[in-house]
C-alpha cells in the first residue's frame, strides 16, 4: 500500500513537471512531521533520539520524552518525576530487558525501568565522569562515553571498568560517542580519533589522522579525516565516522573521506552520524541533514528547512553536481542537526528546534530508475494525522 502511494506521488510529480527526465536516483523523504513543545515535548532542543518498537525516546535539554508512534501522544519526565538530571544527551535501549539507558549531561547515567529511574554517578559508582555524551548497550554491558574517559558497567555482575589513557590508546580522554557493531565497540574521541574495542580479545585499536596535523588534511582518503571525532556508527561491515572537519567511511581496509567540497554534505561541521548500511549514512551537520544514499556513486540527499515558513528542500547531489531539487511544504524542523535514529523505513532527526520524523513510504535503498522530481512536491508531503 505504502509503495503504491509512493508510485502515485511519483506519477503526480511527473505530471506536474511535464515530460520529466528519468534517471537512477535515490529515495527522497518528502513527508516530514515535526514534533515540538507544541505537541508536548518538554523542550525543543533535542540532543538524542532512539526508536524502540512503537516508542521513540527523545532526550532534550530539559527532560526526557516518549512519543507513541501509534497514537502520536507524548509523555515526558523531568526532575520532579525522578529523572536525575534534566539534560538528556544520549539514549540506548536494552533489547533484552527493555530498559532505557540515559546519558545525562552533567548528571551521570540513568536507567529507566518499570517507571523508575536508577542513577549512577561519579560518587556512587565507577562512572568516570558525570558529563555523559554517549551511551550504548553491548550484551550485558552498558558503555558510557564521558568527558573524562569511558566507563563500562556490567549489569549482571555489577562490575565497572574505566577506560582512560592508562588502559586504552586515548591520547586524549575526551570521549564523545560510543556505538556497538559486530563484535566491536567503537568510541569517538575528541582528540584521539576513533577507537575500536574488540569484545572477544579485549584489545583496542586506534585510528588517527595519518598526517597528525590539526590545520590540514593532507590526503582525503589516507585515514580518518581528523582526530576530533564526534561519532562512529557501524553498519553492515563498515563504520561511518563524523567529525567537525568532515566525514569518512572505513570498510576495514580502505578509508574514504567526505567534505562539503566534494560531496553532498551540507557542511563539514558534523555533530553526529548514523549508518544505515554500507551504502547509506546520515550526517548531522549544522546546515542540514545530509545523507549519503549510494556509496559507489557518491550520491547524496541533503534536507534543509527554509528560513521562513515550514517549507524545505531536498537536494540530490552526485559529487557536487545537483541532480534534483525537491521543494516540500514541510521540511525538516531545523537545519542544526544533532542526532538521528533510523526506524525501518522512517528516519528521526533530532534538531535544535524540534524532532523531525521522516516518513519513508516506499523507501528503497541505493538508486532506482525514476522520474526526476523537478516540480514542487505540493500535496504529496501533506501529512494526515501527524503533528503538522
Amino acid at each position: 500500500m505504502r509503495h503504491l502511494r509512493y508510485v502515485s506521488l511519483m506519477a503526480a510529480l511527473t505530471c506536474l513537471a511535464g515530460a520529466a527526465e528519468v534517471a537512477k536516483l535515490p529515495y527522497v523523504y518528502t513527508k516530514w512531521k515535526h514534533i515540538t513543545t507544541a505537541d508536548g515535548l518538554p523542550n525543543d532542543h533535542i540532543f538524542a533520539v532512539k526508536s524502540d518498537g512503537p516508542r521513540v525516546w527523545i532526550g532534550t535539554e530539559n527532560g526526557l520524552a516518549m512519543l507513541d508512534k501509534r497514537t502520536g501522544k507524548i509523555k515526558s519526565w523531568g526532575e520532579k518525576d525522578g529523572l536525575p538530571w534534566r539534560v538528556v544527551t544520549a539514549i540506548d535501549v536494552d533489547k533484552k530487558t527493555g530498559d532505557v539507558w540515559l546519558g545525562l549531561f552533567g548528571g551521570g547515567l540513568a536507567r529507566f525501568s518499570g517507571g523508575r529511574f536508577d542513577h549512577w554517578h561519579q560518587l556512587n559508582s565507577g562512572l568516570v565522569n558525570d558529563v555523559v555524551y554517549g551511551v550504548a548497550v553491548q550484551d550485558d554491558n552498558i558503555w558510557a562515553a564521558t568527558t573524562a574517559g569511558a566507563s563500562r558497567f556490567n549489569t549482571v555482575t555489577g562490575e565497572w571498568t574505566i577506560f582512560t589513557e592508562k588502559n586504552a590508546p586515548m591520547e586524549e580522554i575526551w570521549n564523545y560517542n560510543v556505538a556497538v557493531g559486530k563484535g566491536k565497540v567503537y568510541i569517538a574521541v575528541w582528540g584521539s580519533g576513533m577507537l575500536e574495542y574488540d569484545i572477544a580479545s579485549n584489545r583496542w585499536k586506534d585510528y588517527l589522522d595519518p598526517d597528525g596535523e590539526m590545520e590540514i588534511d593532507l590526503y582525503r582518503d589516507d585515514g580518518i579525516v581528523h582526530v576530533i571525532v564526534t561519532a562512529a556508527s557501524p553498519a553492515d561491515d563498515v563504520v561511518w565516522v563524523s567529525s567537525y572537519f568532515g566525514a569518512c567511511r572505513y570498510d576495514g581496509r580502505h578509508w574514504r573521506g567526505y567534505y562539503n567540497q566534494d560531496s553532498g554534505l551540507a557542511d563539514d561541521f558534523i555533530n553526529n552520524t548514523k549508518g544505515r548500511s554500507a551504502d547509506e549514512a546520515w550526517f548531522a551537520t549544522d546546515k542540514g541533514a545530509s545523507a549519503i544514499t549510494d556509496f559507489k556513486t557518491n550520491t547524496w540527499v541533503t534536507y534543509t528547512r527554509d528560513a521562513t515558513g515550514k517549507g524545505g528542500k531536498a537536494v540530490v547531489m552526485r559529487d557536487r553536481d545537483v541532480l534534483e531539487t525537491v521543494e516540500m511544504p514541510v521540511g525538516i524542523p531545523h537545519n542544526f542537526i544533532i542526532n538521528y535514529d533510523i526506524d525501518g523505513n522512517d528516519v528521526f532527526v533530532a534538531t535544535a528546534k524540534g524532532l523531525g520524523w521522516g516518513v519513508g513510504e516506499g523507501y528503497y535503498p541505493g538508486l532506482k530508475q525514476r522520474p526526476k522530481m523537478v516540480a514542487k512536491a505540493k500535496g504529496a508531503a501533506v501529512t494526515k494525522g501527524g503533528a503538522e
Partner: protein
C-alpha cells in the same frame, strides 16, 4: 537606549546588531564571515608537509553558529544580577590532568583578580546598563580532577544561568570545558591557556584573547634559528599537557628548517633534581636549550645547567617571566630569553590606568594572567552590554567584530578561528629586569608568509624568490 550604552556601539557593531536582532529560530544572520588567507601567520617554511598541497586546509573561514539560540527571549524582570562564569585554578589540589600536585594557583589567582577588577569597574559605572543591575562573577575552581571542569561548566550554563564564561589555564581542562560550552551554547573566552590546539577545534563558541604557544614558538624559533643561527637545539619540558603541546611548534619548526631538535627531555612537574635530563643534554653538544614548563622548575633547571658547566643560552616559555623565576635563578637569570604574549612596558594610558587600579585594589602588580583576564572580562561585559541577555547574540557581537579589541595588553585582533593574532614579544632578562622586544626591535627575520591559502596556491613548495610561487 541609555547614552552610556549607545557610547559602546560603533557603526559596525550597530550593523551586526541590526542583522542579529529579530531573527526567528530558523534564520541565520546575513553577516560576512572572516576569511584568512593564511593560518596563524605561519611562514611557508614552517608549514607542515610544505612540499605538498594538502587536500583541505582548516581554520581559514570563520565558523558560523546556525542554531536556534538567537530567538531565545531575554529573562524577565526578576533577574537581579548578570552572572558571568569564571573557571580557573585558584585552590590547591592534586590532579591527574595537571600532572600531580597543582601548580597553577598563582596564575589562576591573578586571573581571578583581573576578572574581578573588570567587573567591579563596570559595576561602578552602573552595571548592566539596560536594567541597572550589577554584574556578578560566578567563581569556580578548576581542580582538574576527573574532568571536574566539565561539571563546573554544566553548573554555570544550566544551574546558575551564566551568560558567558572566562577560563581556564590548563590545556586539558580547557578542552573539556569548551566541549560542554559547545553543547550548552555559551561563549567560552580563554585568557590563560596558550595551548595552540585549544582553538583548533572548530567550535563557534570558543575564542581566546592571549597569544598562544604557536605564535610565541614561531617568534622564539625565528630568533634561535634565523637570527642566531643555532643549529643544535635541545628541549627540556614539563611532562604534562602544557609542556607536551607547547613544544610541538618548536620541534616542527626546527625539523622543517632542517635543524631537528637534537634531544627532548621531559620531567615530572615539581621535580627538584634534573641531573638525569641535563647529563644527557650536556652530552648532546647543544648550541641552545629551550625549556617549556613552570617558573620554579625553569629556574632550578637553569641553575643546575650552570652548575654543571653548561653555558648554552637558555630560552623558555612565558611562564618563566616571573619574580619566582628570577628569585630562584638569581644571577643565572641574566640573558634568559622567553616568548611572551604581550609587552607590559608599552607606553599606553589604558595600561597605566589598569596597572594603577590593580595595585590600588590588590596591593600588588598585575601580571600577565591578570591583564589578559581583565581584557577578556571587558570583552565579555562589552558584548553582554551591547547584545543584551542572549548567549548567541553575545557570541555574535564578539565573533563579528571588525576591529581589534583595544585591550590593556595591546590590540586583540581575532582571526577567523577567533584566536588572538596580536603581536607577541620576546622578554629578555637584562641588568636585573625583564625587557620586552618586538620582532622589529631585535630585527628578527621571518619566513615568507604566503598571501594565499595552501589548497589554492600554484604549487606545494614555495620558493619566495620566484614570483610565480608567490601567487
Amino acid at each position: 537606549m541609555p547614552p552610556e550604552l549607545k557610547a559602546l556601539i560603533d557603526d559596525d557593531t550597530a550593523e551586526v546588531l541590526r542583522r542579529i536582532n529579530g531573527l526567528s529560530p530558523y534564520q541565520v544572520p546575513d553577516l560576512r564571515l572572516k576569511q584568512d588567507s593564511n593560518y596563524a601567520h605561519t611562514p611557508s617554511d614552517y608549514e607542515p608537509f610544505g612540499a605538498i598541497k594538502p587536500y583541505k586546509e582548516h581554520f581559514l573561514k570563520q565558523m558560523e553558529y546556525t542554531g536556534a539560540g538567537r530567538a531565545i527571549p531575554e529573562p524577565g524582570p526578576e533577574l537581579k544580577t548578570v552572572k558571568i562564569g569564571f573557571i580557573g585554578p585558584i585552590m590547591s589540589t592534586v590532579s591527574v590532568a595537571t600532572g600531580g600536585k597543582s601548580h597553577e594557583e598563582t596564575l589562576g589567582i591573578q586571573m581571578l583578580e583581573g576578572a574581578k577588577l573588570a567587573i567591579e569597574e563596570w559595576n561602578a559605572r552602573g552595571g548592566y546598563f539596560r536594567r541597572h543591575i550589577p554584574f556578578e562573577l560566578d567563581t569556580r575552581n578548576d581542580n582538574g580532577l576527573w574532568g571536574a571542569s566539565g561539571n563546573e561548566i554544566i553548573n554555570m550554563a544550566y544551574k546558575n544561568d551564566d551568560w558567558a564564561i572566562i577560563g581556564t589555564i590548563d590545556g586539558a581542562n580547557s578542552h573539556i570545558a569548551i566541549r560542554v560550552a559547545l553543547k550548552a551554547e555559551i561563549v567560552m573566552l580563554n585568557s590563560g591557556d596558550t595551548d595552540p590546539t585549544f582553538i583548533e577545534t572548530n567550535i563557534p563558541w570558543v575564542m581566546r584573547c592571549i597569544g598562544d604557544d604557536r605564535q610565541m614558538g614561531y617568534l622564539l624559533m625565528d630568533y634561535v634559528l634565523r637570527k642566531m643561527n643555532y643549529k643544535r637545539v635541545g628541549i627540556i619540558r614539563a611532562s604534562n599537557r602544557y609542556g607536551r603541546f607547547g613544544v610541538r611548534e618548536l620541534n616542527d619548526s626546527g625539523r622543517r628548517m632542517q635543524h631537528p631538535t637534537i634531544i627532548e627531555m621531559a620531567y615530572k612537574v615539581g621535580s627538584e633534581d634534573f641531573s638525569l635530563q641535563l647529563e644527557r643534554m650536556k652530552a648532546s653538544n647543544l648550541d641552545a636549550v629551550i625549556h617549556w614548563g613552570d617558573a620554579a622548575e625553569s629556574a632550578r633547571i637553569l641553575n643546575q645547567m650552570r652548575k654543571m658547566g653548561m653555558k648554552q643560552p637558555f630560552f623558555a616559555s612565558d611562564r618563566s617571566v616571573s619574580r619566582e623565576f628570577t628569585n630562584v635563578a638569581g644571577a643565572n637569570a641574566e640573558g634568559v630569553i622567553c616568548g611572551f604574549p604581550w609587552n607590559p612596558q608599552r607606553k599606553d594610558a589604558k595600561l597605566a590606568a589598569f596597572n594603577a587600579a590593580f595595585r590600588k585594589r590588590f596591593n600588588s602588580d598585575a601580571g600577565t594572567y591578570a591583564a589578559h583576564a581583565y581584557d577578556g572580562m571587558n570583552m565579555l561585559i562589552w558584548a553582554i552590554q551591547v547584545a543584551g541577555l542572549n548567549r548567541a547574540k553575545i557570541r555574535d557581537v564578539l565573533a563579528y567584530r571588525t576591529k581589534p579589541w583595544p585591550g590593556v595588553t595591546g590590540d586583540i585582533p581575532l582571526s577567523a578561528a577567533l584566536d588572538d593574532l596580536g603581536d607577541v614579544y620576546l622578554a629578555k632578562y637584562e641588568g636585573g629586569a625583564w625587557r620586552y622586544y618586538s620582532r622589529e626591535d631585535l630585527k628578527i627575520p621571518r619566513g615568507y608568509i604566503p598571501a594565499r591559502d595552501r589548497v589554492n596556491r600554484a604549487t606545494g613548495a614555495i620558493d619566495p624568490m620566484k614570483p610565480e610561487d608567490r601567487n
